[in-house]
């Protein structure tokens, strides 16, 4: 934690919108439709020659899942969510398909024992991998791809905090659960893998 406390690029105070209008101007428009995993699995991924007709047939899609497991340091991840995240990511930026394939190849070429090791090597090899990794992290942990909610309750951010807190609108502790003492959390000792980025908070 000590290292990141001095991180000047973070802008967590920008939670009111007037300060963020410039940021907003740079953002893509949002769509408010939920991308269901099943629906997306059969969504056409693009018109480029050489691409598979659907994510189901896309040979990079399984690589995305394998890559995601390494980058989350997890042995298992939900394959339906993986399909939906992958479809969203390559829909937003078609070049990501090729980049995900190359990042997977990088992973296969070395013996990376952790997400951190792979991410550090990836950014060193090609700065664009940093963006790819950000999108993969945002997908799995926030449940968001292509500026849309792919999953909410099943986002990993809620999995890793489920001993303390509920996703908004999904509380299940009964009235006044909030008075009880939540778990203590130790100061983290791990270091970041990637260089820091500007943090953009969307407008209220």
């Amino acid at each position: 934690m000590a290292a990141d406390r001095s991180c000047s690029s973070t802008r967590i105070h920008l939670a009111t919108p007037n300060s963020m209008r410039m940021a907003q101007a740079l953002r893509m428009s949002r769509r408010d439709m939920l991308l269901g995993a099943m629906g997306l699995a059969t969504v056409a991924v693009g018109a480029n020659p050489g691409l598979a007709a659907t994510v189901d047939e896309d040979t990079v899609a399984p690589l995305f899942l394998a890559l995601s497991k390494r980058l989350t340091d997890r042995e298992t991840l939900n394959p339906q969510i993986s399909q939906a995240l992958y479809a969203g990511i390559i829909h937003a930026v078609p070049e990501r398909r090729d980049q995900i394939g190359k990042l997977h190849a990088l992973m296969e070429s070395g013996n990376f024992s952790s997400a951190r090791a792979l991410a550090t090597a990836a950014e060193h090899a090609d700065p664009v991998f940093k963006d790819v990794i950000h999108e993969i992290m945002t997908g799995w942990y926030r449940g968001v791809a292509d500026q849309k909610v792919v999953v909410y309750r099943s986002a990993l951010m809620f999995d890793i905090t489920s001993d303390a807190i509920y996703p908004k609108t999904y509380a299940a502790g009964g009235p006044f659960y909030w008075t009880k003492t939540p778990p203590e959390v130790a100061v983290p000792t791990g270091e970041p893998a990637l260089s820091p980025s500007k943090f953009v908070v969307e407008p209220t």
């Binding site: 949002r30 509380a171 006044f176 659960y177 008075t179 959390v185 970041p192 407008p203």
Partner: protein, 545 residues
């Protein structure tokens, strides 16, 4: 589209928010016929809940409530805005949001149900600042209680925790037990400072009440309580309809018709979404359309008889725009994990600066320690810092459990130069101009904000805070007030102490637009109390008639 046959009722109300719907409910239960005209659509709660869950930008309070083209509302607090156009040196500080739809803006309030202090009604007399109201706290006290019963307000026992607004009855429900995070904050403030943290009175059920359930702590009071444990205006709509009141959605009032003497209102005219025009007659009329839209309607209705707008012989319609201006800081506590976001959003307040002799030179304020779930923010932040995998998960847990946010409501002050006018450049699909507001922060408010920053620095130190991030400038708290200001002198005010317009004997205004000062507490309970007082007046006058 041809006009339907004229609609008619004893009382015609424009606006279905907490003010309009509660008046409708009171009147119809007294045997008085009521029509309520709502510019926006009727939408059910579950639709908003679904919209929220599918919203990528979860902190967007307006996000789940998209407006319709015939009843636009501000899409967000961004300046420049697609609907509410703000200008002046502090334009960004007045970029309010609100909702135009059945039930009104309380769809996304946090349920904070403060009574104003007796001093708030006498700011000029006591402190030589701003203006006095044309009523006293004691005049409103019975209606405050009536509003608390209507909404279902929980709050502390005054014998143990006196919030400064004298009560004749206890709160309808016991105070909400505060979260672990708020308990720790309260303990710290109590032990280390001369200040205190009090239970915030809230229109939130601490037991089943009014056929609505006990709060389960979904932490989503704003933008939408998923279970209806928190009151909003839609519940008064349902009650009024059950008793026989007629609510007309998508009815955009654009004209207020008067008699030849210009003393009595005879009808209002509204457009449907196809711009078919309809006329609604009545004996009494109440404009309860939110501070911004109420003033806009009075100005839009200008005609030969009233070239400056309806009820505007004083020239004060649209002037004296006020708000609670906000100061906000977010930081990472160096103490034990707090895990904010377990329970309702806003439950506790530092209230030491709501009143004091210093109000002769600087505005009052109150401070919220926001109990907002920070998991999503923590995740986005940790990713931006470059963490992945196991280290990312550690960071998310740490940041989500240690992020603290403080914000304030700082008192605005009536200044006629802060003014709402009709846009000369923007009109909606019906041809009705958008509202425009010129805003310059009163020095009184600026000094108040400076004092707040000092307090926040003290609290950050006490919590061994790091990563201290101040929201730049000043931001609106969406509590607009003053656009049809109350007063005893018709030359410099729009309504009297009963919210009756000075100019038109059967035209009342039920909105924060009548406030003469804005105090520090959230405005909704006072809006509701004033509305219920209007209902009381109308019941008396109609029964005598």
């Amino acid at each position: 589209m041809p006009s339907e046959q004229d609609l008619s009722a004893d009382v015609v109300i424009v606006g279905s928010g907490v003010a309009g719907s509660s008046i409708a409910n009171e009147l119809v239960r007294a045997g008085i016929s009521v029509i309520v005209l709502e510019a926006g659509p009727r939408v059910d709660r579950q639709h908003f809940v679904e919209n929220f869950r599918n919203l990528e930008n979860k902190p967007s309070y307006q996000g789940p409530f998209p407006s319709v083209p015939w009843a636009l509302h501000p899409p967000n607090q961004i300046t420049p805005n697609d609907y509410l156009h703000t200008t002046g040196p502090d334009a960004e500080a007045y970029q309010q949001v609100y909702l135009r739809m059945m039930g009104g803006t309380t769809w996304h309030w946090a349920g904070c149900a403060w009574r104003y202090l007796p001093s708030d009604f006498e700011l000029k007399t006591r402190y030589g600042q701003g203006r006095d109201w044309a009523l006293k706290y004691d005049d409103l006290e019975p209606f405050y209680y009536q509003a608390e019963v209507m909404m279902g307000v929980c709050g502390p026992d005054p014998a143990r925790e006196d919030l400064g607004s004298p009560r004749r009855q206890p709160y309808p429900m016991e105070a909400l037990p505060i979260s672990y995070a708020a308990q720790q904050f309260r303990k710290l403030i109590s032990e280390k400072t001369p200040y205190r943290v009090v239970h915030e009175p809230q229109a939130r059920n601490t037991r089943p009440y009014d056929n609505r359930p006990t709060c389960e702590g979904h932490n989503n009071c704003m933008p939408i309580c998923p279970i209806g444990a928190m009151y909003n205006g839609s519940y008064s709509v349902y009650h009024a309809e059950a008793a026989g009141a007629r609510f007309v959605p998508n009815a955009v009032v654009y004209k207020i018709e008067r008699d030849s003497a210009n003393k009595r209102v005879t009808a209002v005219h509204y457009y449907d979404p196809d711009k078919g025009s309809h006329r609604v007659t009545g004996k009494y009329f109440v404009i309860a359309a939110h501070c911004i839209e109420t003033a806009k309607l009075l100005l839009v209705s200008a005609d030969e008889q009233s070239p400056d707008g309806i009820a505007n012989s004083s020239g004060h319609v649209g002037r004296n725009m006020m708000d609670h201006t906000g100061v906000q800081v977010t930081f990472i506590s160096g103490d034990k994990a707090l895990w904010p976001g377990r329970g309702p959003l806003e439950t506790n307040v530092i209230d030491n600066f709501r009143d004091g002799s210093w109000r002769n030179e600087r505005g009052a304020y109150l401070v919220h320690m926001v109990d907002d779930n920070q998991v999503d923010l923590a995740t986005a932040l940790a990713i931006s810092k470059g963490y992945v995998g196991r280290e990312l998960e550690e960071q998310i847990r740490y940041l989500a459990s240690h992020t603290v946010r403080l914000f304030s409501h700082n008192e605005g002050l009536a200044d006629p130069e802060n003014r709402l006018t009709l846009s000369s450049t923007h009109k909606d699909m019906l041809g009705i101009p958008h509202p425009e507001v010129y805003y310059k922060l009163p020095e009184y408010t600026v000094k108040s904000c400076e004092h707040t920053r000092g307090l926040f620095r003290e609290l950050i130190g006490l919590m061994h805070g790091t990563d201290e991030q101040w929201t730049p400038g000043y931001f609106p708290q969406d509590h607009p007030a003053g656009s049809t200001i109350m007063g005893t002198d018709p030359k410099d005010s729009v309504v009297d102490g009963f919210c009756r317009t000075h100019d038109h004997e059967n035209l009342f205004i039920a909105s924060s637009s009548v406030f003469s000062s804005v105090g520090t507490g959230n405005i909704t309970l006072t809006v509701a109390a004033l509305a219920l007082r209007v209902a009381d007046t109308l019941k008396k006058e109609l029964s005598h008639a």
